[in-house]
Symmetry: C2
Subunit: 432 residues, 2 copies
C-alpha cells in the first residue's frame, strides 16, 4: 500500500448533503485504496458557523470559514460544492477550476443556468467538472447518458425528477386526497420545504430537464428555455377521471429531440398506467429514455436525500480520483457540440385532457366541437360525465395538436356564456 | 477536424449482434469526432463465410476469414468480440490483449467463467477489457455499478436478466397460459431458441448473476458458484395462488452480500406486486440494486436484441476511444479485491411457498406442521385451498429459514403416505 496516492478534498458546505458526503467518504475510507488506487482525504470543510459544524465531524481542525485557505491550498485536488445557491457557489467553483482543481457539484440551479461557463473553464484547465448528483439524486443518469448510451441518437428523455410532487400526486391517487391536504402531509413529513414553490410549480424539475436535455441531445438547453407548469391545479376529480381512462397523472419533465427542434417542458400529464413511469410512486424518481439503438430504458431510485445524493457525489469523486491517477482529468467535458433550436411551447404538439362545466342543454357539445374544429383541433373523444342542477360536466380528449391551436380554442371557450367553468387542462402522453 | 484521431476497430463476428454494431457505428460515424474526439473506423470484420457476409456490408474488402490479418495489424486498437462461445473467442481476446489491443465483448458465457484471466491480461498490458453488453443487453449496469455507485457498500443485486423466461412468465400471468404453451409461443415469436435449455433452466441468468455479483461485491463469483433453478415446473395454478397473495412469480437472479458470505442464485420467486421488479413485463429486463448510500435503485430496458446489445458495445467502444485519446487505457480494471466466501444454497435463508396434495382427513395439517416444527421450520401461514375427491390441496408459506431445513422437511413429506404429491416449491421474496 506504500504506493497508494493520497488525494486531498475540500468540501464546501456541511448541510444535509455535505454531511452525507462526509459520512460516505468515512464509510468508504478503508476500501478506497483497493477500489480506486487512491486514498481520499477530506482536508478542509468550508462552513459558515465553525462551532455548529464542530459537532458533526471527528476532527474539527479541518473546518474553516475562510475560502482562501482552500483556494490557496495547492494540495487540494478536488472541490466538492454542496452549499447550494448561485453565489458564492459559482465564484468558488470558477476559481477552483481556474486554479487547476477538479470540481464536483450537486447544484442544479447553477448547472442549469451557467453549466456552459463552468464546463468551459474546466476544459480550459483540463480538469473535471462533474454533477451526477444535480439530476435525480442518487440515480445514475448523467454518466449513463454521456457514456453508456453514446452509441444512440436519443429522441426522448422523460422523467419524474421531483420527489415532493410525486409524493403529493401518489397520495392524491392512492388516498383520494386533494392537493392542499397532500401538500400539508408532505410538509409535515419533511418531503416539502416551508416554501414549496420551486417543487410544486415545476421549477426544480425544469432545471433537471435543462441539464438532461443538454446531455441527451448534445445541444445546450438552459433553465430559461424550459416551459414549466406545476401541479397546484390538479384535483382529486382529475385523478379519478384519469384512472377511469387507465391513466395516472404525474408531473413529468419532458425533453424531446424532434425535427422542429428541442422540446423542453415540465407539466402534469396523463400517462397510461402500463407505462413504467406510472408505477414510480411516493418520493421515488425515475428517468425514462428512448434511443434509436437501446430502444426504451429507465433509471429508477432516490431523487434526493442525504445519503442518495452523497452516493452520486462520491461516484463522481471516484471517477476524478481515477483520472488523477492516470493523468487524464478533463477526459469527458462538455458534449454540447450542436446548436439545435428550442421549440416554443405553443408549437409543441400534444394531446390534451379538458374538463369543463357547461350549461346542460342540447347543442353545447356541438358548439364545443365546432370551436375545436374551427381552430384545427381534432377530437379523440368527448364525454358528458355528470349533471349538477343546470350544469353538466364534459371531458374532452384531443388528438395530438399544436399548443397554439388548443390555446386559441380555450380563449373562445372562456368567452362563451354556455361554458360556466374550465376546470382542468392537462396534457396526455402519447399519440392517439 | 484535421486533428481528429482515427481509431481502427476489428469486429469478430457478423451475426445478429455484429450486424447491430456495424449499423450503430455507421449511424454514429459523422457525430463521433464531435462526441468523443475520434473517428471510429471498422478496418476488419472476421467472418466464417465471406460470401454470405458480403451482402451485409457496404465495402466487402473489410471482410476476412483470417484472424492473423487482425492480430498482426498494428493499426487496430480495438477488437470487438461478438462471435460468442468459448473458443476460439477466448484465445482471440487473450491474444488481442497481449498484443496491446483493447477488447470489448458481449460474451457472458466466457466472462462468467474466465473473466479474471481476461481482466488480468488487460491489466498486464494496461488495456481496457469492457463487457457492458454481457449483462442485461442495452441496459447500463456494469458502468453504474463500477463507477456511479462506487461510494456504496452494495448488499443486494436482484435482476430479471433473461427476456425469454420473463416473456413466458408474463404470458402465464396475464393470459393464464401453462408453461408449455407459453414456451411454444415464445419460440414462434423468436424469443426462445430452438433449444431453450439455457434460458428456461436459468443458466443464462446464472452467468449474468456471476458477473454482477463480482462487480457489486468486489469479490470474484464465477458461473460455477451460482445455484440455478429454472421455470419449467411453474404452473398456471402457482401463478394464480401467487396473485391471490398479492405476488407475481418472476425468475430472479439474486446476489446478496451477507455476513455468512455471498449468495448467488437463480430461481423463480414470489415477489410482491408492489415491488418495482414485479412490473417488468414481456421480454424486458431490469436490475434492482440496494446500497447503503443510494438505498434502492433500478435499471430497466432491453436485455437482448441486435441494436440494444450494440448500444452497450458502442458505449464501451466510446469509453475506450476516450481512453486512447488521453493515454489512459486500463484506467478501470478488475475491481475484485476481496475474497469473500460463497454460501452453499443449503445455507441460504429464504421464505418458501409449498403446495401439496394431501389426504383429506383431520390431523394432516397437524402432521405437516409437526414435521416442519421438528426440522426447525417456522410457518407463516398454512391454508387448505380446495378439495378434489379424497384429496385436499394445502399451501404453506414458511418464515425465512435455511434451505437445508426446508429440504429435510421435504424429504419426510415425500415419504408420508398421507401426502399424495408435492406440487410446487417456490421461494418467496423478503422477510416475514
Amino acid at each position: 500500500m506504500s504506493e497508494v496516492k493520497k488525494i486531498n478534498i475540500a468540501l464546501l458546505g456541511l448541510g444535509t448533503v455535505g454531511t452525507g458526503v462526509y459520512k460516505v467518504l468515512k464509510s468508504q475510507q478503508e476500501e478506497m485504496p483497493c477500489k480506486i488506487g487512491a486514498e481520499l482525504v477530506i482536508k478542509k470543510i468550508l462552513v459558515r458557523n465553525l462551532e455548529k459544524a464542530a459537532a458533526k465531524v471527528d476532527d474539527p481542525s479541518v473546518l474553516t470559514n475562510d475560502w482562501n485557505e482552500i483556494i490557496q491550498d495547492g494540495e487540494i485536488e478536488i472541490v466538492i460544492e454542496v452549499m447550494g445557491g448561485m453565489e458564492p457557489a459559482k465564484t468558488y467553483m470558477m476559481q477552483a477550476l481556474a486554479a487547476g482543481k477538479n470540481v464536483v457539484t450537486a447544484n442544479k440551479d447553477l448547472v442549469a443556468v451557467d453549466g456552459k461557463e463552468l464546463l468551459d473553464m474546466a476544459a480550459l484547465n483540463q480538469k473535471d467538472f462533474l454533477f451526477e448528483a444535480a439530476v435525480a439524486g442518487g440515480i445514475p443518469i448523467i454518466r449513463p447518458l454521456k457514456q453508456c448510451l453514446a452509441g444512440n441518437h436519443l429522441s426522448e428523455v422523460i422523467g419524474i425528477v421531483n420527489g415532493t410532487t410525486n409524493f403529493i400526486l401518489t397520495k392524491m391517487t392512492e388516498d383520494g386526497m386533494e392537493f392542499a391536504d397532500a401538500l400539508a402531509m408532505a410538509t409535515e413529513l419533511g418531503y416539502a420545504e416551508a416554501d414549496p414553490t420551486a417543487d410544486v410549480e415545476g421549477l426544480d424539475a425544469g432545471r433537471k430537464v435543462a441539464i438532461m436535455a443538454s446531455i441527451a441531445f448534445n445541444s445546450r438547453v438552459t433553465f430559461q428555455d424550459v416551459y414549466t407548469e406545476g401541479i397546484t391545479k390538479i384535483t382529486a376529480t382529475d385523478i379519478r377521471y384519469a384512472k377511469e381512462m387507465g391513466c395516472h397523472i404525474k408531473l413529468l419533465g419532458v425533453a424531446r429531440n424532434t425535427e422542429g427542434g428541442i422540446e423542453a417542458r415540465v407539466h402534469p400529464m396523463l400517462i397510461p398506467s402500463t407505462h413504467p413511469l406510472a408505477a414510480v410512486n411516493d418520493s421515488f424518481n425515475a428517468v425514462f429514455v428512448h434511443g434509436d439503438a437501446v430502444d426504451d430504458a429507465m433509471f429508477y431510485g432516490r431523487g434526493a436525500g442525504e445519503l442518495p445524493t452523497a452516493s452520486a457525489i462520491v461516484g463522481d469523486v471516484c471517477d476524478i480520483a481515477r483520472n488523477i491517477r492516470f493523468g487524464c482529468t478533463g477526459r469527458i467535458s462538455c458534449t454540447c457540440y450542436k446548436n439545435l433550436p428550442i421549440m416554443k411551447i405553443e408549437d409543441v404538439r400534444s394531446r390534451y385532457f379538458l374538463r369543463m362545466q357547461v350549461e346542460d342543454h342540447p347543442g353545447v357539445l356541438a358548439s364545443v366541437a365546432s370551436v375545436f374544429g374551427n381552430n384545427g383541433v381534432s377530437i379523440e373523444k368527448i364525454i358528458q360525465k355528470t349533471k349538477r342542477g343546470d350544469l353538466a360536466e364534459i371531458v374532452v380528449i384531443t388528438d395530438s395538436i399544436e399548443g397554439r391551436h388548443f390555446d386559441d380554442s380555450l380563449k373562445i371557450f372562456a368567452s362563451m356564456s354556455m361554458i360556466n367553468e374550465i376546470s382542468a387542462v392537462i396534457r396526455v402522453y402519447g399519440h392517439s
